[in-house]
Amino acid sequence: MADLVGIYAASHGPLIARDWEKLPAPLKARLSAAFDELGRRLRAARVDVIVGVAPDHWTNFFLDNLPALCIGIGVEHDPPPEPFLADFAARHPTISGAPAFARHILATALACDFEPAHSHRLRLDHGLCLPLQRLGLEPLPAVVPILINELEPPMPSLGRCCDWGRLLREAIRSYAEPMRVALLATGGLSHSIGEPSMGAIDEAFDRRCLDAFAAGDQAKLLDVLEAGMPRAGNGAHEVRNWLVAHGAAGGRGFRCLDYIPAPEIYLGCAFAAWGT
């Protein structure tokens, strides 16, 4: 059976790549240290497959067809389209999937009355590829993307995202092949994109959110999020991915590796690891 050997979260602000050369040295050092620590943990865990939970930034889906959640079951995925990730895309003209395992997740979900969309070929944008680039994993493990609609309302409920995490834990445990799996949730915390509050960071919300994730009490956590998210910017909706990780960890609290409120990248930037 497959083993869930690590559960991590990392923010994915695109300016970390786009504006890297312009960022102050102390910020760059802190961001690098956090990504390096996550990369070190993933390498130490000898991960075969990363289940990557992220939003789709209008890369695969549009108003024509907007799945609440889509599992990438393809043999391979396409690289990021963003110019600021061109180096990563050149190194990874395709990104390997784990089709048999991904189909098992899909089948497990359907058997448990979840109804995800699925795709045989996704393009992975900065939501997954910016962290993957910064984690420095070479060769890159196979990736099973799970893309959640966190950009265009209405969106999946927060509680359902926790349920998805528990489902993923069960799907990993029940997969017959030996495989070492890590879950990487990306995005968040507070940030605002294309709104009048663009650039604002809600540090008080971020800290309450991190404390609640660390404590692991789901009812309290959801209360904190429901109360604070309406004022934490539209990017804060990406905390849904963190809730998937929380569910996959069986509701154990996490350890915050760093929190960096960084106006230079318009982002309350956080990194965390759960026990498995």
Partner: protein, 91 residues
């Protein structure tokens, strides 16, 4: 209220070739989309405040980045728009 064709224009301009075509001749590209006259003029005037209520904020951001507006200018116009009109709620 989300406008489908406005959003479609902004979505399509994520393609670099399409964005380059728009920068060369905005009116010709806009004419391919069945926009209302009000939205068509707002697009061609780069009017952040009039466009913001009708599309997703990320698509709005991508559009103004694609036409070459700096983040600082875009943010300044967003703030002015928020003060005068309010924005689409909920994301």
């Amino acid at each position: 209220m989300t406008d489908y064709w406005l959003s479609k224009l902004f979505f399509d301009l994520r393609q670099p070739d399409r964005a380059a075509g728009y920068r060369r001749d905005p009116a010709a590209v806009v004419a391919e989309y069945p926009l209302t006259p009000e939205l068509r003029s707002a697009v061609l005037a780069n009017d952040v405040a009039r466009l913001a209520p009708h599309t997703n904020p990320y698509l709005l951001r991508y559009f103004f980045a694609a036409i070459g507006m700096s983040d600082a200018e875009f943010i300044q116009r967003l703030r002015a728009s928020g003060a005068s009109t309010g924005v689409r709620a909920g994301g």
